[in-house]
Subunit: 321 residues, 6 copies
């Protein structure tokens, strides 16, 4: 029996027609017969530099019209395997982080409880804490696989501010939402505040690899390292588009030059097969600074690759792992 | 009893949340309890110069998130009077004008037959012919009120091409869809192909006023002239955004400098009270050349003013007329 | 004796050289021999739609390099009359409105106490409340002259949020910072949430004129009305760039089409002579959506016209009033 | 007998086809049977602020593809009256003003000597001196009709630099190329260096009107003033696009907000009938800062209106004058 | 004897002067003494998503002003070996694919018959069918070397539409214009409609390599594979700019992230020495979405590399092969 | 004792606050206790194609707000080792290269004489000659390490122009400012004027490597080659942003596609440890064509890497060399 919810067929109706949902999927607020729910999390008050990722979900949905159903690299017909919906957005409160966190968690927790994998479209990276609160409440502490140029494990900004897009993963560890020894951060680069920045993440228990270290290995080797780190833990994928070089992702809040190409980034992501994903997000898409939808299309493809990884594991032959 | 279909309240959920529909209205494909249906008509193969208006409906929907429900200038609470939906888009066929016309007409005619006023979001101006075919099939020949810098009554392009965005209103007259003596074109300007260009429209029976002539009168006087021309005929409003100066509407296909300001344009439109509208469109929004959503927001507001004119006539005191 | 602090001379060193300060003025943090201090207030967490005005002060300073010292329209050599400095920015806390208000007020109040007129560069309009707290603490309640397309006197957003860029002037009245009967709002337009929106401001005691009403009068008549309203009260000028049509000011957070041209706007502002200004701001410049510095240059000129109004009143012949 | 050189017909071949020449005219380097030669003058080393007008001629040619042959406002079929060519560009020397002046003058003087009216596409305004040297060498001192927000009659920049885009008309008077008492400058605005700036131009003999003064009169009254000033002198039209407000002409080097709209600008220009033009230029188009070709299209239309004024005078019924 | 037609020398006249032709070559419509004719094919009605490649030839010509005559990588002084002209554009009919095909074929076939190699500047990829019709009519079926992220061998769009930019190479095989066993497609990537998409091209007889496969080999190895595939057949090079990652070529209609860099792309192209080229095109340049001419400059360089490959083969020492 | 001059702390005050100086360093015009002075050199009259690098220093300063103090790749806390200031700009004379050279040299020579390393922010590459005049006057002839896609050793442009951005290093050799046998040029690519172009630089004594050659080696090997070439000579680093592919640096004057990625570029630069730098520049940043500050951020990072190289050598353990 084919999945209940599937995208519109762009060989029948042009992909530029219709209300914009992710990948031309149905906009439904349901959990029955749903494998994955795409949810917009348009919150950006956590940003410390450029701001505007509240328009990220709209932009990613628009760019996702170009997606097609068969992932040749992973050999999987994504929407033949998974029933996927666009659930809409959380009713965040711009300017106020705590009620926004509450709104995000309140929306996601019932989805997780119903066995639905959540795929958040950000929004700045501060939203990850709210997502992890929702998922850990259902699944217990999770493994984290984070692609990002920044570790986002600082303690405070401006003296006393504990909730920003630079702090969510330290908070998540403190709140017991993550299993640090099962977690890995990939891609750190750019000038740091201090020599201790990367060590701090390692002290929390995370495995940490800089961009330079990542690019010294093949994607396959990195995929194996990720699998070895995560093991059989339930895992959350957090993909900050600033992991990729800003030439490929200009529309973002805190760009760091010197990053991987989008080809390298996709190959790395596709290598992360064999993992028991329960949720994911793609964050820090800032459309006002994007050009020709480069960043939005990258984010849409990252979301699609996550769906593909889930479909790949569920389908009979998970050949790579 | 309040209208069945109403917009989301932007004082409750932020206007940048949710799937983008026109004015945050429900996306419904129904006719019961519907006064006006907004329909995307993303077709641009009729364009003879810059092209890309197929993305116009998406852009207008995005910009329309800024609309609020009370029109102070006309004194009407639009969505307290009218039940309005976003019906979605016609499944046009890019590159092929005749099947696209068929698709548009097939979508609109049942709406018109059900007594629903249609409000098309273009798309290039060639779509007007398909809209008029649908509406005239139900209502008989219509009066036309056209705001535009070009008359769009040329006969052929490139020798023999009869269907382009420069020809729809000549075709509509030929097909008996319009009542030319009840029709008026406002805003012609820019260099012409020949001295006969304006006379041709007059020979078809239209009243024609250039931008220079329009701007020599008050909006109230123009409104009175429009009412006098249309009389009690059922009427179609066709608003090409190039009626307004391109500084206010840069994202369009065939810009003509030297036009009215957006303030002047809105005042002219608001003066067209007291008319029995059965349909409208706003066309030639080309997002790839827009900036900061100027053009899309203008088009969204034009659509909103049309809704306001309809609501104004339906509400008890149509004070101006 | 000429003023102590003056701009660099752009006939001697090119205007594109040097660290960017407002109008190429000295960057000094002093009060002695200072008539007016320009202060950046780069806070935008109060924005409810587009966000990014935290980069407004940088953009206004950059565009202000084009300013020259003689205002021909008012007949005043601004920097021969006034000693003006660029004081730098308040250390706001992005994402957190209350400590940001505290930082702004803490910076401005000593300036006001030292007799320095403050000229704030925003930032979103929420900053006006912090400015008014600082100035009213020194001067007592002030008259307000507000150019804006929105009244910004709503009560709450999203249920319970009292501090946003849509609420500062209601809060200011509640806190006793304004003399509403001496205050005037000019330029309201665009769709409203409800028929009561304008009446609410009038109920607070403000005089309110819509854009349509303003444009029906000459600038001189509006200037006379402003003077009659303010009388001899000490006054604060708050200029939201969305007062002007977005074709002239695309880089702003909540644009409303159908506004005055920049020529009309400047003429209106220049007509507000004869008023005892103690402070001003120009707000809602959002550079990521600006083009060719249109908005930033407009804001820089508005700030310059404010300086000119102050200089005009201080110079011997205040001819217009 | 129809003119020898005429544009391609855009109803036969699409206007976006072919090598870009001005108005789709033939690219010919000839003088026989030529009434007007359009010449690109891509020099911008005279610019004191933003630079890049060397790409102005390319941009104006591109935008001019939208022009059509009949000017309805002046009632003249331009290319039925005039034989016009695109002569190509002067081989200026970027970075070096004196050899560039020599190259421009060497190209234009033989055209003028052959009785050809020259229409220069700039380039920054410094080129006007080279044009006037060429034309005055043939025709003697000329009347100047200058639309501009700046008078460009300063003496020196940076101490001793006499040749910049801020000085050409003072130099032209000093070199005896102009008849100041027959010359008029229209549109000055923006902050000035000193109170004497406008008086300096008047002291040179020019009639000077600010933007504010111009906009207090009808276009017809300004046209009459221009005719009265110029009388029967041979005249040069110099149109700096910064005469128009930068919302309509963002791509320019020294924008001044608060200017006329493009509608006002065109009406003023069209009112300048009845003058014996021997040359013209349109300058300060800076494409890197343009948007959607707004500025380039404005400049193309200004050039077209100049052709129309020449054609209008040459055709039998010069009805307005 | 040096070639008859050569570019202007940019050390003599600045490269930003003159009417824009490809590489500053003469605009001539001739075949005598011509080795290669560059022809604009500004047709984009075949595009199924973003549209606007009709302005591609203009943009490529503009960017090509930066080209210089010596290709160091291939060691060839291109314009010492080849006589090259810019022939102008085909008079396509926007909106109508069949008469446009006829116009393209009618223009190219006589050039091919005269022994001139044609180098088409697109335009969307649908034009390739018309080019192949012209060349195959003269030369017989050709080998195809296609750099592209999409195979463009789908059968129909929207049910029954057989002529779009997604179908030309299937049509070309059906019409007997290609030798599939001598043809190779390089660079396929991105989500597919179905698992069969790549197999369909292989079933037609083409050799197909995905981007991932191409990037696993050295450029030299790919060059050898191309040579082995083509053999001594007469060959057509079709280069869709979406072969390259959209960070390097944002201005295109159907971007696919994860592609080669421009360095990789050029090295691959330069490796294709030793082939008997009879024609080429570079397609899908969509200037409205380009930035800083990135895409146009890439396309210009691709065209230049094709000229270099032809010159390399014709010059005495074709060292690589 | 910590360095006297240090950047503001972005964990205390947001990085978007304050007057823009390089890396939030103090704007001081001093030499005491200063190790490195950053100096803006906003001159662009030497540019032969696109122009506008006069705004480069402003853009680099703006983007440099993102820099943080610890360079993880080189393992150095830059501002714990070095006292760095932003000295402001040279008062260049736009349009006139010789007085501009004089102004630059006059500013830099006293800094060099005081033992301060100078770090120039361009401006076009012509400024390098003025910098080298200042530094060689103090230090004697220098080694040059030049990252650039062009050698900039042409002799003349346009017949006789000896001072442009294409000629500075030939002039520097002629003037005895460089030690060619200790100098290396890295990254040449793009079409050349003639086969002799690269040989000319080698004939001057420079080591020259093309982009293709550079990318065939590891960064470490290139670093070793640079060290071997320079030896113990005092050296000047000149980094033209067009060394990097224009996808990563679109805002530049003479882009050449096919360049290194920013990751490759940074790795190459970081490998150049162990050299006795006395000065550096980063040039050809043209903000009007930049996007999302890509180019400006790259240039800021290059400047930061230079500071890091200096700090690395000065700190105890220069581990790599």
């Amino acid at each position: 029996m084919p999945p209940r919810y599937r995208p519109a067929d762009s060989l029948a109706s042009p992909r530029f027609t219709g209300i914009r949902t992710f990948a031309r999927l149905p906009h439904v607020q349901a959990t029955a017969d749903v494998d994955v729910a795409v949810v917009g999390l348009p919150f950006d008050t956590g940003a410390t530099y450029r701001v505007g990722a509240r328009f990220g979900p709209e932009a990613i949905r628009s760019a996702s019209a170009l997606l097609r159903p068969f992932n040749h690299e992973l050999g999987v017909a994504v929407f033949d395997v998974l029933s996927v919906i666009d659930y809409g957005d959380a009713a965040v409160v711009p300017g106020f982080i705590e009620p926004s966190y509450a709104a995000i968690t309140a929306l996601l927790q019932p989805l997780a409880a119903a066995g639905v994998i959540t795929l958040g479209l950000g929004g700045d990276h501060s939203i990850a804490l709210a997502e992890l609160r929702a998922l850990a409440a259902v699944h217990g502490p999770l493994a984290l696989v984070q692609f990002d140029s920044h570790g986002d494990v600082w303690d405070c900004y401006y003296g006393t501010q504990r909730y920003t897009h630079g702090t969510p993963f330290r908070r998540a560890v403190e709140e017991g939402l993550l299993r640090p020894e099962r977690s890995i951060q990939l891609g750190m680069r750019g000038p740091l505040f201090a020599a201790s920045d990367l060590q701090d993440a390692r002290d929390l228990g995370f495995t940490v690899m800089t961009t330079t270290e990542v690019l010294r290995h093949t994607p396959e080797a990195i995929g194996a390292l990720v699998r070895a780190t995560v093991g059989d833990a339930q895992a959350f994928l957090s993909f900050d588009v600033d992991f990729i070089d800003p030439a490929f992702a200009p529309g973002t809040g805190t760009p760091e030059i010197g990053g991987p190409t989008s080809h390298q980034g996709l190959q790395l992501l596709r290598a992360c097969t064999g993992i028991d994903w329960v949720g994911a997000d793609v964050v820090e898409v800032l459309p006002a600074l994007d050009h020709a939808q480069l960043t939005a299309q990258l984010a849409a493809q990252v979301a699609y690759e996550f769906l593909s990884l889930v479909a790949h594991r569920r389908s009979a032959g998970d050949a790579r792992t």
